[in-house]
């Protein structure tokens, strides 16, 4: 067996388990070890990744806004995350007098759990999925929906009107954007015919040896439904992650910092960490569904390819964050329910058309593209027209007003 860079992690894992078995350790201990190794490695690597991302985000936004950003601690301010971590650890942990102490303590713990758990489902490289279930895409959404509850606990337990407002905004926003998020992921599942992320990534891999950049042409993004699905999925995901311009749940200028107003020190850092870890996990999911996952040119190891794709997507998010102002609550809701959701539903119809039409020859392909475009482009134009430029008035309800 030759050790390769691509499979190095997997081989090291097998080697450690082999040594453990040779030492005559009991079966339950080996089982426990086989479970613990991926957990420890994923948490160590991606928590380090998180620290680096906080630095990168500040640097990128500074560059775009014509500032310097962190540049005091270490070369280019690279050790800023370390300084921030020490600061967070040594700060006083303030708990408001009216707070529910148990829940106030519980919320930052609960918010981190789903953010880390979802990594078990992601194919982080060739043969590198910790839990390879039949329904991993759906399970990803199910686990990440728990973070809604964590934000509610945080807002409720703080006993502060700003926290409560932030929590309510967060819940409303996450519920609204979960629909376009799941519907945006659905086309990829439909075409591949499996909810297993590994199978979806494989379907986008090179179909023959020596294809350009490891089968870049097979990415789901290069189809009409894939393009629309990816854009809907990406926007809904950014809202789900509470990232700017969808960060009304925090809204520093309106409600101080929303649900984590009353958190200080390391508890605040945990909220921050959960947000970044979810961002990385979401980018990995988006890459796996639409950008070919770990498939890449043969000279790069598969996990590095996925890392680069994650970085690319996160860079786009930083770019959007530093250039767009925050949305208003009503704009946010209208965008989800009146634009993204209908578009995602029509996109599913287009996916069905694409799936049924033959695509063997060039002429067939042109027909399939034309059919999909005929469905999607008028829908987009119609939705853009219906949503465009209406001033908002105060709403009145026929039956629900008291």
């Amino acid at each position: 067996m030759t050790v390769t860079l691509d499979q190095g992690f997997v081989q090291a894992y097998q080697w450690i388990l082999g040594v453990a078995r040779d030492l005559g350790l009991p079966v339950w201990l080996v089982t426990l070890l086989s479970l613990a190794i991926p957990v420890v490695v994923v948490i160590a690597i991606y928590a380090g990744f998180f620290a680096f991302l906080t630095w990168l985000e500040r640097k990128v936004i500074s560059r775009i806004q014509n500032r310097y950003g962190p540049n005091r601690v270490g070369p280019f301010g690279l050790f800023q995350p370390v300084a921030d971590g020490i600061k967070a650890l040594t700060k006083e942990d303030v708990i408001p007098a009216g707070a529910d102490r148990l829940l106030h303590w519980l919320a930052p713990c609960v918010v981190v759990v789903p953010a880390i758990t979802v990594y078990a489902l992601l194919p982080l490289g060739r043969n590198m999925t910790a839990v390879d279930t039949d329904v991993s895409v759906l399970l990803f959404f199910a686990i990440s929906s728990v973070s809604t509850l964590a934000l509610f606990i945080a807002g409720w337990a703080s006993h502060n009107k700003y926290s409560m407002l932030g929590a309510m905004r967060a819940i409303a926003q996450m519920i609204s954007y979960e629909l376009p998020l799941v519907l945006g992921a659905l086309p990829a599942i439909m075409v591949v015919g499996s909810m297993n992320l590994g199978a979806i990534v494989k379907a986008q891999g090179p179909q023959a040896t020596g294809e350009l950049f490891g089968g870049i042409a097979h990415w789901n993004l290069w189809t009409p439904w894939g393009f629309v699905g990816f854009v809907a999925f990406f926007i809904a995901g950014m809202a789900e992650l509470n990232r700017s311009p969808f960060d009304i749940a925090e809204g520093e200028s309106e409600i101080i910092a929303g649900f984590h107003t009353e958190y200080s020190g390391f508890k605040f850092a945990l909220f921050f960490m959960a947000e970044y870890l979810s961002t990385i996990a979401f980018s990995a999911l988006a890459s796996s569904l639409y950008l070919g996952g770990w498939n890449g040119p043969a000279f790069l190891p598969s996990w590095l390819v996925l890392f680069l794709k994650i970085f690319g997507l996160i860079f786009v998010m930083m770019w959007i964050r530093s250039t767009l102002p925050r949305l208003r609550v009503d704009q946010l809701m209208a965008f989800s329910w009146k634009f993204l959701l209908p578009l995602a539903i029509v996109n599913i119809f287009a996916t069905g058309l694409w799936h049924v039409l033959p695509r063997a020859t060039l002429a067939d392909k042109a027909v399939a593209w034309g059919a999909a475009a005929l469905v999607l482009i008028p829908t987009y134009l119609l939705l853009a027209k219906l949503n465009g430029g209406r001033a908002t008035e105060q709403r009145r309800y026929r039956y629900a007003d008291l």
Partner: protein
């Protein structure tokens, strides 16, 4: 006792603790979190049975939707100000206890009458695809009826939240 049995016992303990907490804790948000723990326990038990799809749906529907519905109810009704005592016996609680007793008796009856179920010789390869196939072939009619019902409920919700054009014009 092997690891699987140990896991089952631990999960069952967590599930039952969650259920007990949900019914006995007086503070509504805490009771809700206890209920969420119970939902997770049930989902984990489904996973132990290799019914992954049902386990996922359990989390997605009960934790992702039902629990959040409770959250909205708590937030919008200011439950903290109107916390009621659990111990008092009001008519609605008596009805609730009766209903629970009937359902419980039915479940116990089923459990008692069930004999050992013979396991298939070969473990099924995933349950998601067979469920999808069954829904699209054998159970298509019930599936469609359920979707019509849900659509009707959705339209009803929209009607309730409808903007009142006439009132706005007169205002």
């Amino acid at each position: 006792m092997d690891i699987a049995q140990l896991g089952f016992v631990l999960l069952s303990a967590v599930t039952i603790a969650g259920a007990l907490g949900a019914t006995t804790i007086n503070d509504l948000p805490r009771a809700l979190l206890s209920l969420v723990l119970f939902f997770f326990g049930v989902a984990a038990l489904f996973f132990m049975l290799h019914a992954e799809f049902i386990g996922v749906v359990q989390v997605l529907v009960y934790v992702g939707a039902v629990a959040v519905l409770f959250v909205f109810a708590i937030v919008l009704t200011r439950a903290r100000l109107q916390a009621t005592e659990i111990g008092r016996l009001v008519p609605s609680r008596v009805l609730g206890i009766l209903g629970a007793a009937v359902v419980g008796a039915g479940l116990v009856g089923v459990v008692v009458r069930t004999t050992d179920v013979p396991l298939p010789a070969v473990a099924p390869l995933g349950t998601t695809a067979p469920i999808g196939e069954a829904l699209m072939t054998r159970y298509l009619l019930p599936f469609e009826i359920a979707s019509v019902l849900l659509t009707a409920a959705l339209i009803g919700a929209v009607v309730i939240a409808l903007e009142d054009g006439e009132q706005r014009r007169s205002a």
